[in-house]
Symmetry: C2
């Protein structure tokens, strides 16, 4: 048996629940995964979370009393302070008081936050932002998630809606397409995997000369692979995704003056072909005084950012 | 003689020094003004500040011991923590350790911050943002200044460069003009008094039918007056200034999710003709979830925002 305090992080997704145990320095000690079971209703999801977390703590050789905090990262809109998920299409949840439900079953304080904010906290606790206080994170996946860390904590805004960086309207009206949020020209329409696939399909439909035309269905990875092999149409798409990301960062730099930008999520795996263009446009479009000492780096925790950051929420509640 | 604590605020401008005394609730008790004397060098400016402040406290019937904090709002780039003004064209200052110089002469801790941040703090302490914790302020004057208040305090960013809202590049490249910061399309190029005058001169040069063509030199107030009298060219200019301000606020709403936007500075005196279009575009371009409960209001303290906010800096240091 080990005697130190541990923190439990829950990364609640539409299909899988991931749970992890961290020590006070943000090191992930052990993790486990299981199906969400969202199709069986909110109560079933709570049951599944409780079972995974209890077993994880036991299997790791800890006593339940050593759990000093529990946090959960959840996709959707929520009232963070009350701990109520207002709407989560992925989980099929409407007004689910998940904090109270988990606290009743686990007998410990539970904090929730949205998944992109939690991933940002994970990276700042023990990933690419370790030791930094003011960091802006992007998660480039199906959408573009954002998380703003100020003084080492998630900045939630007045109503918990801060950091929705995917909905900065960065594409000029003439070239803008509709976003899921109802607006047009959002960063998410060009710099997410979905946006990249859309631009690729547009290029094929337009008759651009590209190897992507040979594929049955195109993924974002296909576009990056084609770009790396010298496919010019694919390269233009990657450059467009990176250009707008760089310009959004230029705006964020004058507004927030962070020390560092972190880019994670599936799209970030494209590597230099993406990062070089992001950095180039950030340099080009940011006034010198606002970019001094600011860097742009890849996320380090990969898929673990969610559970580590969620455990970090637990550390918060322990400190307050 | 009065026995409570007072806070001294200094609003240091290129031509005038304003000083004010506030009580702990941010009420301005008394103020005074004198020439900056920047032409005589930094030491002369310090002498002038010290004389104005000492006399102000005495004339108000307070003992020097009752001064619990002193703050100064200064135009230019500065190292806020060290209290050194790195560059202030208005003051002709280069690397002036103003905090240390004032502390030596006044025998009290002094805090400095940039003038736009300080005005924002003033409005949140006892003006249009009183009782709010998360507020974004614009000062529309010669330039466009910005101040971000988070949890009731100025958010400075990693290197003190946060809140440079005038340099959000909001005008699409096709219509963008050069900004003093070296970039193009900054908010400041269209929503400042300078930007409005530039657009008016462009309209006259272009031969647009406008009463502004009859004026020897055009001021921003002329443009607003003409717009209010039904001059269509002038109205288009005001609408353009307001349009981009509304769109910049839409971006800020998804990033920061403030409770309230406050607009001050000379241009804000245009009133409804400006505010209605700002609000209309903010509504139009902000996703519903990010604009819920967010309002846009005029500043209340006018020219006093600087001294009140600077006194607020003093309150900070008192609390730390």
């Amino acid at each position: 048996m080990v005697t130190s305090s541990i923190y439990v992080g829950i990364d609640l997704g539409g299909t899988a629940i991931k749970a992890g145990l961290c020590d006070a320095s943000g090191t992930l000690l052990r993790s486990a995964e299981g199906p969400t079971g969202a199709e069986n209703g909110a109560q079933a999801v709570i049951d599944n979370i409780v079972a995974i977390v209890r077993k994880l703590v036991q299997d790791a050789g800890y006593e339940w009393d050593q759990v000093a905090g529990i946090g959960a990262g959840i996709p959707g809109f929520m009232n963070i302070r009350e701990g109520v998920v207002l709407l989560s299409p992925n989980l099929r949840w409407n007004d689910v008081p998940v904090k109270r439900l988990l606290e009743e079953r686990l007998g410990k304080p539970v904090r929730i936050n949205n998944d992109a904010n939690v991933a940002a906290l994970g990276e700042v606790w023990s990933g690419a932002g370790a030791g930094r206080k003011n960091v802006v994170c992007f998660t480039l996946g199906t959408g573009v998630g954002g998380g703003i860390i100020i003084n080492g904590k998630i900045y939630e805004g007045a109503a918990g809606m801060a950091g929705e960086l995917g909905h900065i309207q960065i594409v000029p009206d003439l070239e803008a397409v509709q976003c899921g949020c109802g607006q047009t020209g959002c960063l998410e329409t060009v710099s997410s995997a979905t946006g990249i696939v859309r631009m690729a399909n547009d290029a094929v439909e337009r008759g651009d000369r590209t190897s992507l035309a040979l594929l049955e269905t195109i993924t974002a990875k296909d576009v990056f692979d084609a770009a790396k092999s010298g496919d010019e149409a694919a390269l233009r798409i990657v450059q467009r995704a990176a250009y707008y990301l760089g310009r959004a960062m230029a705006a964020l730099a004058v507004i927030l003056n962070p020390e560092r930008f972190i880019i994670g999520g599936g799209v970030s795996k494209a590597g230099d072909i993406l990062f070089n263009v992001v950095r180039e446009n950030f340099e080009k479009y940011t006034p010198a005084a606002s970019r001094q000492g600011v860097d742009i780096v890849p996320a380090q925790l990969g898929n673990d950012a969610g559970v580590v950051g969620a455990a970090g929420l637990g550390l918060y509640s322990d400190q307050e």
